[in-house]
Amino acid sequence: MGVTIDRSVTVEVRLFGRYRELADGPSITLELPEGATVAGLVRELHRRAPGRLPERPIVAVDHRPARDEARIHPRSEIALIPPVAGG
């Protein structure tokens, strides 16, 4: 008989601009199942901060905007990117 072991990874999501107001500090820490995708990370953010984020916020993985299906690796640098407003 198979035994299911739920493994999870701890992911720190860096926050900038208006998204810093989602948490008390410069980042928010999430527990995600191993092998989670960007879409899963966004779902967890919506659960943690309901009504505070757009439906599909830009998630940068290792400094590049990532697609929904991209996998979250434990050592990836994850950041939530608000609409840019420099200059």
């Binding site: 860096r14 900038f16 601009g17 208006r18 810093r20 919506h46 309901p50 009504g51 505070r52 984020l53 757009p54 439906e55 599909r56 940068a60 400094h63 590049r64 640098e77 950041a79 990117i81 608000p82 609409p83 840019v84 407003a85 420099g86 200059g87």
Partner: protein, 155 residues
């Protein structure tokens, strides 16, 4: 200073400093400064605060300089963007582009400032003279909170 330069700066910046020592082949130098204005969309601005993502900004800056060089024959591309709190009249972004002739210098300088505004991971919060503030940047409506959705459904 010689060669290209792009980065964030917590200290005051000027385009004049970026325009120094651009090399003997530079017959044209175009500089641009974006400065903090005292009004925006009809509201009186007291100061601005810039937040930035340094690791990503470094990569985006590198990409902008590379594309400017691919598209235009230039001898130097330099750009700095401020972070932190800026008062009215302070320079938020400075660009200096040198080229053999003015056409390339103007075109590349325009390309650099437009790309910085559209792509650099920097965010500004306007503080108004009435004590309120807001982050700039258009954002789609928030994903509804579950309780909001239920309340709307019950109406």
């Amino acid at each position: 200073m010689t060669g290209d330069l792009a980065g964030l700066s917590a200290e005051p910046i000027t385009a004049a400093a970026l325009a120094a020592s651009v090399g003997p082949g530079s017959g044209a130098v175009v500089t641009f400064e974006g400065r903090v204005r005292d009004t925006n969309e009809g509201r009186l601005v007291a100061r601005l605060h810039y937040d930035a993502y340094p690791g990503m900004a470094e990569e985006v800056f590198g990409d902008i300089v590379r594309r400017a060089r691919e598209a235009h024959r230039v001898t130097a591309v330099r750009v700095l963007h401020r972070t932190g709190t800026l008062e009215i009249g302070e320079t938020a972004v400075a660009v200096a582009v040198a080229a053999p002739h003015r056409g390339e210098a103007f075109a590349a300088a325009r390309f650099v400032i437009e790309a910085v505004k559209a792509e650099l991971p920097v965010w500004k919060r306007e503080e108004y003279t009435d004590g309120t503030s807001r982050w700039l940047g258009e954002e789609p409506p928030a994903h509804p909170a579950p309780e909001d959705a239920v309340r709307k459904g019950a109406e």
